[in-house]
Symmetry: C2
Subunit: 232 residues, 2 copies
Amino acid sequence: MTEQLVFEKMERDPLHERVHRELRAAIIAARFEPGQKLTVRAISSAFGVSTMPVRAAFARLAAEKAVTALANGTISIPLLTREQFDELIELRMLLEGIATEKAARVISGEEIEALQQIAGELHEAAQANDADAYLRLNQQFKFTVFKAARAPALEDLIERLWLQIGPFMRHYAADIRGQLDTDRYDAVIAALRRADGRTARAAMEEDVAGGAAFLKRVAVFAETSAEPPAGK
Amino acid sequence: MTEQLVFEKMERDPLHERVHRELRAAIIAARFEPGQKLTVRAISSAFGVSTMPVRAAFARLAAEKAVTALANGTISIPLLTREQFDELIELRMLLEGIATEKAARVISGEEIEALQQIAGELHEAAQANDADAYLRLNQQFKFTVFKAARAPALEDLIERLWLQIGPFMRHYAADIRGQLDTDRYDAVIAALRRADGRTARAAMEEDVAGGAAFLKRVAVFAETSAEPPAGK
DNA sequence: TAAGCTATTTTGTGATCACTAATCTAGTCA
DNA sequence: TGACTAGATTAGTGATCACAAAATAGCTTA
């Protein structure tokens, strides 16, 4: 019998996935102007690839609603109205709250360890006023909790909401000094540790609400949903 | 000044959208075997088009999780485990309930009229034991309610859940005689008419739960999530 | 100067070709 | 007879070409 050779995962990584990942990251990091139009050829030449991977990535991003497909097929960076923003926040509070409550019942010790670790780094980022790191760690913390809920479909819905609201996150970087409150993370961890779902949920909801309130003050919104997206 | 000519909407309908629409309908109607692999070339020759529109449609469907993308990029019809099914149902009850409660506050007279009309046809379909028509009308009824909630992001999440659970709906057709209860629709309409969100929500949740209970008896599930999907 | 028309460019869309890596199929050897 | 292997097939992925419609720029005209 041939010996069992265990290799690292094959790292299959097609171009269209790489393009998708990078575009997605760029959108969340708000490296595009809201309302800006993205053309296949421009992006493909920027990546140094043909149009094919970009077209595939666009199709995926549009289905995820990370970008908006105009009526004529043009892709543009989403622009949110206040109403749309409010609805997304309301849904995030609901679903993230539920996920946190679920997590409290089934989270493992290792996962709580990981949360503790991230919370420590969050504290450092807050003291250093490093908004970028703070946002990244905040996302990491939250999705560690959501993953601990063992509810993949729920996690998927939450991720979808994050994608849609992502472009607005950059407004955090504007002026956030002193706004960074890391106590809530400790509260979440403490509640999760004693399986107190109710309290953990409340803390998580408060975090979403607080962030949203800040964003609503500094973000710029669309007057009205000017050009409705195409297709169904 | 040239006279204002008003034309019907331009009906721009690219091939890849048509393919997407048809494939999506076929999946929901369960015209594919769960687990079945779909190849780009097979589908494209079946539609009589090149591979391009099919590739675009596949990318969209995969992002919508209406199909599963295997690790090597192959597209296959989703197979649900009992746990996955239960989670989707739980989320549907939650979100559809909330949407119904919202609708109760803002639904218009015309929309209630439309619901009444659909409920009438549902009654006929039930008496005729026409499962196909019943399912179609049931979907139409529900999404009329959801649309009335004026919460597009919420409606979008619900639609996503329907897409994932869609392939299982065909098991309804198996043996559903006498199971078709149209009273609930009247109850929903009555509650909506008097803006009684609580009652409307309860009736809608009951409908989801009832349908799910029936499906769990007759549907076939995957033993385990055999091959996990690729990408993120 | 501003509005309207035309020509050019750009863009999305679809088809076709090429390449590599799985996958399946025989065929062979122990 | 069963397992391994080499050849053939089929798969996804990427690039390039072609075309029509939309957007833009530039020119003309009132």
